[in-house]
């Protein structure tokens, strides 16, 4: 590369690199280092003389901590609810929206509105709608003859799936846009030949559309799996991990350990463990793509 080009590369890449180092790499390295120390009180944070190397003891403690492991389990369960529902719903919406009908742009705007709405506003809105005490959803269900409507965010068994559902509602627009682009790129000749061969719409969807957009589906599944673990704001504003521990996911537990009980090293260890879980899932997904993704 010519010197001038190299200079230009350095100039353009440096701002991103600096930002990445300051706000991503350095905090991650700090978190790893903190997780290997014994800073588990505020006074420990100030008194550097008491700072000591704790090795992997914080990790061992987390693995034997029942509530912590249960919170990881709930995070995985949230992912199982969230990822399939999000991608299935996004594909269906994308199929619907690629057709032409009246008010297409208005409908697209309506679908995109939750994505750009502040999470606190979303929490207030759904809190009102799903209020088991006079909320419009349960009142409608009662009118329809359902005598014991679900407790939604206040049910031990319904809190987590309800949160996942609200999260799907909020995030589906972005996935829909990506799927729309993928579906539009499927060559129309493939549909024509399938039609000539007598394939129904469903068969065309399963045998033409899905294989052709499978790389996009793979990318969306990986990214939505990663983002499913980043649900602190939604859970905090809607249920704060309750009722009891019903929706206490890993990020809520990590926050509480760090900022309520000041166990910074212990919380960092759990955060790094969560990172490793996400990486493991992503590796498994990469390996499995050979079986179902068609390039």
């Amino acid at each position: 590369m010519h010197r001038e080009e190299a200079k230009a590369v350095v100039i353009f890449v440096t701002p991103f690199l600096l930002g990445y180092l300051m706000f991503e790499a350095l905090p991650m390295v700090s978190a790893i280092l903190i997780s290997l120390t014994n800073i588990n009180s505020l006074s420990g944070l100030r008194d550097l003389h008491s700072l000591g190397f704790a090795g992997l003891s914080n990790y061992a403690k987390a693995l034997s901590d029942g509530p912590a492991m249960a919170s990881f389990g709930r995070s995985l369960l949230f992912t199982l609810y969230y990822v399939p529902a999000l991608n299935a719903f996004a594909i269906l919406l994308a199929l619907f929206i690629t057709r032409s009908f009246y008010f297409t742009k208005f409908v697209r705007t309506l679908i995109f509105t939750p994505y750009v709405t502040n999470i606190v506003a979303v929490a207030i809105l759904w809190g009102l709608l799903l209020n088991p005490y006079g909320g419009i959803v349960n009142e409608t269900l009662k009118l329809m003859g359902v005598s014991q409507p679900p407790m939604w965010l206040y049910g031990m068994r319904t809190a987590l799936p309800t949160l996942a559902g609200i999260s799907v509602w909020k995030d589906v627009a972005f996935q829909m846009i990506v799927y729309m682009a993928a579906i539009k790129n499927v060559p129309s000749e493939l549909y024509e030949s399938a039609e000539v061969d007598g394939a129904s719409k469903l068969r065309q969807f399963l045998s033409v559309t899905m294989p052709m957009i499978s790389p996009t589906v793979f990318a969306m599944v990986v990214t939505s799996t990663i983002s499913s673990f980043q649900n602190y704001a939604l859970v905090r504003t809607m249920t704060n991990g309750g009722p009891g521990d019903a929706s206490r996911v890993a990020v809520i537990n990590i926050y509480e350990q760090a900022f309520e009980f000041n166990r910074f090293s212990y919380a960092s260890a759990q955060a790094i463990m969560m990172l490793m879980v996400i990486m493991l899932i992503t590796v498994v997904q990469w390996r499995a793509q050979k079986r179902w993704v068609h390039y």
Binding site: N40, S43, D47, P67, Y154, M156, P243, G244, D245
Partner: protein, 426 residues
């Protein structure tokens, strides 16, 4: 320039620095009820007038839990704000254990302040040292809406009474057609174990483990759940939480009675922020039975940041608050020399502010001269913060009817014991 001239210049400069020096300043991290827009704003102004020390208030919005969290993080990162508040004994101990605050014994000695003589039994010593100036001890009482009682033709409650009588009265006053509940209680942790506390049952067993599996705690949790779910005399936990009913909901006029701390005087006295056209009354707390005649309460504290820029001025303000806050908020003070006459004068101020709702004698009889003992309302100890968090989290499951009180109390004991073991292992 000769020596005389130089000397004259030096003296002029020194005198000028004294005269034109920036005034002494104290900074305060304040929660809602202690910020400049509250009744305490006037206290800060009067302190400046009396001492010449400027007060800069840094308000922290949100709940007192948000306030405490902010303190922890701010001070850990080197914040030099001078004064912070501990709204209850749990936060008092938490601030000490976190190394947020300084002991004030030596400061008080240098300032010739005799804290014991002024604050006596309200002083809270931790390992022999004082870390905060007491202010506004709360007592609990039942406040009632006289209009609702008059409309229902029920006599006002007075004197000794039991929780069974409270529930019976509340049932007579509850009127769903008019959207009136007979009772209102907040969702603080202290409510969950109120009956156990009144029976004198401790939060810890003699061996240091949690005592929450004691039948008194089970009874307590069940009682609180039944008020909303079984007797339906107050909003259920589900209704209160989903509608985000605030702690001062009594002032809305929709509740016949409210079992609350005397911090409610502050809201009841503020008819600008909480206008109403009805009169209120006050009576002593109900008790479980004749053997359990106890009232509960908590003392809050003004504490000084370990990194304070101006600790001496901060102590002056803390002491000023401790001695004078009752004049602004009508909350009883934590002063040893506050005698019956002083209480009556304070309560007279509350009575005047109540617009004829109550007399000084009513208040004195309800909270001071009620024949009841006094216990701290909170479970403290080495895992006070975890204990509180676990109680609040777990009792909610019983309150929404998804687990029995017995199972909840066992779960609380299990989790608190784990926290105790984890703390001991540190």
């Amino acid at each position: 320039m000769n020596v005389r001239c130089l000397a004259l210049c030096a003296v002029t400069i020194v005198i000028g620095m004294q005269v034109f020096a920036a005034p002494e300043e104290v900074t305060v991290l304040a929660y809602n009820q202690r910020d400049e827009s509250s009744l305490v704003g006037a206290l800060y102004k009067d302190f400046t007038k009396d001492t010449g020390i400027k007060v800069t208030v840094l308000p922290i919005p949100g709940s007192t839990a948000d306030y405490q969290r902010k303190i922890d993080i701010s001070i850990a990162s080197g914040d030099t704000t001078d004064i912070l508040f501990a709204t209850n004994p749990i936060d008092y101990v938490k601030n000490i254990l976190n190394g947020n605050v300084m002991a004030i014994d030596d400061l008080a000695k240098s300032a010739k302040l005799d804290l014991d003589a002024t604050y006596g039994k309200y002083i809270n010593r931790y390992k022999g040292k004082v870390y905060g100036v007491p202010q506004s001890p709360t007592y609990w009482a039942v406040f009632y809406n006289k209009k609702i009682f008059d409309d229902a033709g029920i006599a006002y409650p007075k004197g000794y009474w039991t929780w069974d009588q409270y529930v019976a009265t509340a049932k007579k006053l509850t009127n769903p057609a008019k959207r009136i509940y007979g009772s209102f209680m907040c969702n603080f942790d202290a409510y969950s174990y109120m009956i156990a506390n009144q029976k004198g049952v401790d939060g810890y067993k003699p061996d240091g483990t949690s005592n929450f599996d004691d039948p008194a705690f089970v009874e307590s949790v069940q009682f609180m759940a039944d008020l909303g779910n079984k007797y339906k005399v107050q909003p259920s936990y589900l209704e209160a939480d989903s509608k985000k009913l605030p702690a001062e909901s009594f002032v809305t006029g929709n509740y016949a009675m409210c079992f609350s701390g005397t911090w409610l005087f502050s809201q009841l006295s503020d008819t600008t922020k909480y206008p109403r056209d009805w009169k209120w009354g006050i009576t002593q707390v109900p008790v479980p039975d004749a053997k359990s005649k106890i009232n509960v309460g908590a003392v809050s504290y003004v504490m000084i940041n370990k990194n304070a820029k101006n600790p001496s001025a901060a102590l002056k303000l803390a002491d000023y608050i401790g001695k004078n806050i009752y004049k602004y908020t009508n909350e009883p003070p934590a002063l040893t020399k506050f005698n019956k006459g002083d209480y009556n004068k304070l309560f007279k101020d509350i009575a005047v502010a109540s617009n004829g709702s109550v007399t000084a004698a009513n208040i004195y009889d309800a909270i001071i001269d009620n024949g009841l003992g006094y216990r701290p309302e909170k479970i403290t100890g080495s895992v006070a913060a975890q204990y509180k968090a676990i109680i609040l989290k777990e009792v909610a499951v019983t309150y929404i009817g998804q687990r029995s009180a017995l199972d909840t109390c066992k779960e609380i004991k299990k989790q608190v014991d784990e926290a105790i073991n984890a703390t001991a292992a540190k």
